[in-house]
Symmetry: C2
Subunit: 312 residues, 2 copies
Amino acid sequence: MTAPIYGRVALIGLGLIASSMAHAMKAAGLAGEIVGYAKSAESRAVALEIGFIDHAADTAAAAVVGADLVVLAVPVGAMEAIAAEIGPHLAPGATVTDVGSVKQAVITAVQPHIPEGVHFIPGHPIAGTEHSGPRSGFATLFRNRWWLLTPVPGTDPEATLRLRHLCEAMGAKVDEMDAPHHDLVLAVTSHTPHLIAYTMVGVADDLRRVTDSEVIQYSAAGFRDFTRIAASDPTMWRDVFLTNKDATLDILGRFTEELFALQRAIRLGDGAHLHAYFTRTRAIRRGIIEAGQDTAAPDFGRAPAASEGTTG
Amino acid sequence: MTAPIYGRVALIGLGLIASSMAHAMKAAGLAGEIVGYAKSAESRAVALEIGFIDHAADTAAAAVVGADLVVLAVPVGAMEAIAAEIGPHLAPGATVTDVGSVKQAVITAVQPHIPEGVHFIPGHPIAGTEHSGPRSGFATLFRNRWWLLTPVPGTDPEATLRLRHLCEAMGAKVDEMDAPHHDLVLAVTSHTPHLIAYTMVGVADDLRRVTDSEVIQYSAAGFRDFTRIAASDPTMWRDVFLTNKDATLDILGRFTEELFALQRAIRLGDGAHLHAYFTRTRAIRRGIIEAGQDTAAPDFGRAPAASEGTTG
C-alpha cells in the first residue's frame, strides 16, 4: 500500500472505466475515499453492492463536493451538461479529469465550466473491453496500457504530475500530447477501425437472412474479432464519431481509396499488387509486437482450446 | 489411443495447417505413418527435426505413393500444378482432400487430375492463427472448430465418413455443404473482413510517416486486432481473393454501400442512425457467443495483464 494520492475521489459515471479505476485505486490504496454518481439508480446500487465506491451521490453536483479529484467517465456527448452542473460545486485546488475517447470536443464542452483555481486535465486511458456497465470493471484493466493526458496550455505542472502518478500507480504508462494530435492518432488506431467493424458486422447481418445462422456458426476469426469490436457500447461510440467527425471522415476517405485500389486488383486478377500489399501490412504487425503493445503468441496467447486466429 | 484411421498419410505442404494436423494425428494415433513434402527443403528439414513427419519426400509425386490419405495443404493457387503432378501416382482407393479456404476453385483445379477409383473430398478447416510455416503448428488447433467438407455429387459415402472421422478425432466439428455456398459464407465471415483489415492497416502505415511511431505505440484494440488479421500469410490470401473473386466483390459492394451510409450519418451528425446501427451489431455478437464460437470473457479470456478490448 502506498499513501493515497488523492483524499476524496468523485467518479461521475460508473461504467467499465470508472469501475476499473475504482478497483485499481482500492487495490493499491490510492484514494482516501471514493464517491460515485451515475444517472442510473441501478448502477449506483450495483456499485455500492460490489463495493468499489464508498458512497453513492444522488446528483453529480453532490458527488463533487469536497473532492480532490473528479473523474468524468460518461459518454463524450454527456460531458457538457455534467460540467455545467458540477462547475459551481468544485472545490478550489481540485483536479477534474475525464476519460473520453475524443479530446478536443471534451475540452470545448468542459473547459468553460471549470472555475478559476480548479485544474482541468483531460485524459484518455487506451484500455477497455467490449463489456460495459458497473459490473464490467477490474483492477488490472490499465496495466501496461497507455494513458494519454492532453493538458491545455497554462495547466499547473504540479497538478498534472499528481494525476500522472495516479495513472502510473494504476499500472498505466502515461504520455502527454496536444488534443488535436490525440484525436488524429485515435481516428487511425481506434475510431475508424471500429466504424469499419460495425459496418462489416451489419453487412453480415443483412446476409444472415439469406444464409440463416451459418454466418454465425462458421464465423472465422476475421469476423469474430470484428463482432467483438462491434459489440462495444453504442452510446459511447455514437458520441465518438459525432465529436471526432473531421478526423474520422479524413481517415475514412483514405480507407475507401485504398479499398477501391485493392478491389480493382481483385477484379483485374492483379496478384502481384495484392501480394505486395499484404506483405507490407504484415511488417506493421511486427512493429506492434516490438512496441510491446501485443504478444507474438498465437491469438494473443489465448488458451489453445479456444485458439483460432486468422483463417481462410 | 484409437486405431489409426489411415495407414499412410501424405501431407503436401508443411505449413500451419499441415503441421497442426500432423501433431494432432500423432497425439491421437490417427495415422500409421506420415510422409511430408514441401517445396522448401528447409521446411522439410524443420518438419523432420520437430518430428511431426516420419519421412520427407523430395517431390509431391514421391510423397503420395502408397498413401491412403493425401492432404493438399498448399496455397489455392498452387493446387492445380500439384494435382497434375501427383495424379498419376495416386493409389487406387486413396482419398485426396485439401484444406484450401476456397472450394469451387480448388475443385476446378484438382478434380480433372484425380484418376478413377480415387476419392477427392474437398475440405476446409476453419481454424488458424496469424503465424505460418512448419514451426507454427500445434495439436489443438482444430479443437471445437468447424471443418467443412464439400464433397462433389457422386462421392463415395464411405470415404467421406472416414475423412469425417479423422477430422472429428482431431477435435473438429464437421459439416457438409456444397462448394458455392461455402464460398459465399466464407466471403462474408472471413475473406472480406481480412481484406478490410489489410486495407485499414495499410492506411495506418501511410499515416505513420506523419505521426511517426505513435500509430503503433498507441494502437488501441480495434487496430491491434486488425494488424493481427493483416499479418496472415500473403500468398495464401492473395490466392483466396483471386479464386473467390465473385463472392468477395459482391460482399465488398454491400460493405461499401453500408459504410457510405454510416459516413453520411457522421457527416450529417445523425446520432440516432449511428446508435441504432451499433445496437443492432451488438446483438450479433451475442449470437456468436450463444453459438459457442467464442467466449463471453473480456478479450476472449485473455490474461488480465494483457487484457485490452475495444477502446476509444
